[in-house]
Amino acid sequence: MKIVVLVKQVPDTAEERKLELATGQLDREAGDNVIDEINERALESALRIKDANKGTEVVAMTMGPDDAAQALRKALSMGADSGVHILDDSLNGADTHRTAATLAAALRATGFDVVLAGNESTDGRAGVVPAMVAEYLRLPLLGSLISADVTDDAVRGVRQGEGGTLNVHAGLPAILTVTERFPEARFPNFKGILTAKRKPVTTLSVAELDIPASRSRTVVVSTAERAPRAAGRKLIDDGSAASELAEFLVANRLV
């Protein structure tokens, strides 16, 4: 079985994250860039399938600038067999639609039985790219799963909805997205770290992919910094603080 895990390099959520106001794009210099944690969980579930069945091939795929190779390297050190890096300046600032079209073309070129992805990135947070990829590939999407069981020709999973859970299943090939209910990722071991750079990474440009020369369909009109947080209101207790606090909670629908 061949599993492709989609990984995205994002700014470390533990540090300050910034947008470049002029371009509306992410300031990649603002802090450390790391593989998104939800993608690590997706990779972990792929690696567990591989642990149980040695014939499984795990490919990590990313679209991003030069530096995104670091995210692939991390995935390879954790145990992925190979990497695919979609690297092309023309993809700079691609919207979800263009990203999905590009990933779909790269997935078609790479081949797969299962695609695993995170349900939503910690930076863009659109949460639609895997669904769009599924649409481009005309494949079933099993999204926002809290568990999954992948067999040779089918996948069964449980999807968390707002009102309850859904038991979902599909034949392969299929696209799955995982949530934080999936297990935390393993640490790469020393051997994994040292062998990562010897594993094959294919770099693909847009010209090498079968995609129409599409542009992003959405345009960022303007970007603004979030207003600094205003100081909160202080209640001095002169005997009425409790009722004032209760009023505040009720007025703001906090109770």
Partner: protein, 378 residues
């Protein structure tokens, strides 16, 4: 030498992730309850930390001494006690890998490198510490066995470890009459003293190891008869660098806490960090640690290259780094005022743990003896 390679950066990053999630949150509790976290050590083993600079053939990680120094510093930021035990374990595995024959390596290295089995190093005796060549535990050849009698003192991991590398006397010829012998925990006649009550290093057991007519096959001997003292000294060169790296890590953690504290604590109308005398303290601590780190990396590099001045550099590095680590931790307590004295702030533990690094793997007085003798050609 001083710029980390991409691989080294990735190794350090992984160890930091592991240490901050699996070790640091529990360090205070392990210290208080004297808990030796065998399960966490096993996890460290799966990541390759059981045989860091052991050849890959039988399951080692095949990294360099420089890599090991970086790893021990990172581990020690989370808990000097656990880092130090892992360093001792690594010395044991390395001894078997470096001085054992292929049969011995195949038998013991895989289980030790994975930390499925833990190792202890038995050199010191109740009556022989710095003067290790005077050790009196005897191993008498009887047919195809050695029969061991004697007592080893201050043995880390004793009672829990599965494998003991024991330096024993096979002839009354001083340092030339010492032989390294591997003793498995299940050997009849092997027993352990009570877990010692100590100032620090509470998360690893320290016991006497007692041999009463302990019989092991001659096949358990590492190297030739009489080669044990040389093996012990070579092991200690690496042990000194590793223990020094642990001191730098503990000291760095204390420094980081101090900087954060001085920035957040206000007195006399502003943050304490604005007091220039305290800023000077921070500068001294930072400089002392960086000096130590530099010398540790230089000594580790000498070990990697098998350089002729290895012994001298390892002794200097051990002395400088273990003094620096303790001084910085002690100073950090002072900078925290009364809070530094409270266990909750984690500083007194670092000082307690690092204090013993000035004593073990050759006391710092012995380090000065080594360096002094080499300096004057005596």
């Amino acid at each position: 030498m001083f710029e980390l390679t991409e691989d080294q950066q990735a190794v350090v990053e992984m160890v930091r992730d592991f240490a901050t999630t699996a070790i640091a949150p529990h360090a205070a509790e392990w210290d208080e309850t004297k808990h030796f976290p065998v399960d966490v050590l096993k996890e460290a083993g799966t990541l390759g930390m059981g045989g860091i600079y052991v050849r890959e053939e039988f399951g080692g990680s095949g990294l360099t001494r420089t890599d090991a120094a970086l790893i021990f510093e990172e581990l020690s930021k989370a808990d000097p006690t656990i880092a130090a035990y892992i360093s001792i374990h690594n010395m044991v595995v390395w001894m078997i890998d470096a001085f054992g024959n292929d049969e011995q390596r195949a038998r013991w290295v895989p289980q030790l490198a994975s930390m499925e089995a833990l190792g202890s190093y038995c050199l010191t005796e109740p009556g022989a510490g710095s003067d290790a060549a005077a050790l009196s535990t005897k191993a008498v050849l009887d047919g195809d066995s050695y029969v061991l009698n004697g007592t080893k003192q201050f043995i880390s991991g004793a009672g829990v470890s599965s494998i003991y590398v024991v330096m024993a006397r096979t002839a009354d010829t001083g340092s030339q009459g010492i032989t390294a012998i591997v003793v498995p925990a299940e050997a009849p006649g092997l027993s352990f003293g009570p877990n010692e009550k100590k100032m620090g290093w509470n998360a690893q057991p320290t016991r006497q190891v007692i041999f009463e007519d302990v019989r092991v096959p001659v096949a358990n001997r590492l190297g030739e008869e009489g080669s044990g003292f040389g093996i012990a000294m070579k092991g200690l060169n690496g042990g000194r660098v590793n223990m020094g790296a642990c001191s730098v890590g503990g000291g760095q953690a204390a420094l980081d806490k101090s900087i954060a504290y001085l920035k957040s604590r206000s007195a006399f109308g502003g943050p304490l960090i604005n007091q220039q005398s305290l800023l000077f303290d921070i500068a001294d601590m930072d400089t002392e640690l960086e000096t130590a780190r530099t010398l540790i990396l230089r000594a580790a590099d000498a070990l990697d290259r098998g350089a002729p001045d290895t012994v001298r550099l390892c002794a200097m590095a051990k002395r400088v780094a273990t003094d620096a680590g303790f001084n910085v931790a002690n100073k950090a307590i002072q900078l925290h005022g009364g809070y530094g004295y409270l266990s909750e702030y984690g500083l007194e533990k670092i000082a307690r743990d690092l204090r013993v690094h000035q004593i073990l793997e050759g006391s710092n007085e012995i380090m000065r003896l080594i360096v002094g003798r080499l300096a004057v050609g005596a």
